[in-house]
Amino acid sequence: MGSAASGDVDAKVLAAGRSACYKARDAFFQCVESSKGAATESGTVGLLYPSDCKHSRAQFEKMCRSTWVRHFDRQHCAKKRAQRMLEPETRSGPINIPQAT
């Protein structure tokens, strides 16, 4: 990481770098979404993902700074959690028990 003192510019945060990161990120999460319940899962600290997606994960981690990877992982998990809460099949809350008449 370039420090302010050394005068290096971190290209990963500039437009082209961001774009490359977002592309790799989207490819990875696309893979995760489309791999339905893979039998084996690998993972680093934080996010479990199907081992089918190991390659896109590596690409994601290569194109993006580690703090960004963590940020996007967390964002993804928060989004999934929100989705689960909204979807009728998976949300918790009051259940309808048929009443005897």
Binding site: G2, A4, D10, V13, L14, T67
Partner: protein
């Protein structure tokens, strides 16, 4: 909908003098921005998604205002990560967004002071060895040609709402003075 402006009950104490360094390496103060309406956003270049989106929105809005009313608003981007956002870093970053976008960085104490005067919250988070992100409030501040605070816009404003909001404030600005 016509909003009637009554007598002013005073302004929020937001803003004030500052001494920072622009992306050309020149020391600037708030006085260098007098004479134009200014839109200020606080963020940092190592921001994964929010800052690029907000800056994109900001420059699109000022272009829309220019197109609709001929008024050129001065967009400013102030870093809340002065330790890493060097002049060079800021220059490369802002130039990609808009030729008029001015990046401001400086000594951590000077950034702390300007952030305080704008009530900007910022805090380093998520240390990964050397790397970190900066959690910060996501607000754009509209300042009048006297560099006095007029209105703030949160993240929820769209480009159209932002440009319209700015034009409304500019239009009504003269009406609330001297009451």
């Amino acid at each position: 909908m016509d909003v009637k402006y009554g007598p002013s009950v005073g302004k929020a104490a937001i803003g004030g003098p500052f001494k920072l360094v622009n992306h050309e390496g020149k020391t600037v103060t708030e006085k260098d921005f007098l004479g134009n309406w200014t839109l200020m956003y606080f963020g940092f270049t190592s921001c994964p998604d929010i800052c690029p989106d907000e800056l994109q929105k900001m420059v699109q809005a000022i272009d829309a205002v220019d197109k609709k009313s001929g008024l050129k608003i001065a967009p400013l981007f102030v870093s809340v990560d002065p330790e890493r956002d060097s002049v060079e870093q800021m220059k490369e970053y802002v130039q990609e967004f808009h030729p008029r976008l001015v990046g401001l960085t400086g000594a951590p104490e000077d950034i702390k002071q300007v952030a305080k005067s704008f009530r900007v919250y910022y805090m380093k988070t998520g240390d990964e060895g050397d790397d970190y992100l900066v959690d910060h409030s996501i607000i754009m501040y509209l300042m009048d040609p006297k560099m006095e605070f007029v209105k703030f816009f949160g993240k929820n404003y769209t480009v159209d709402e932002l440009s319209q909001g700015i034009m409304d404030e500019v239009k009504n600005h003269g009406k609330t003075k001297r009451s």
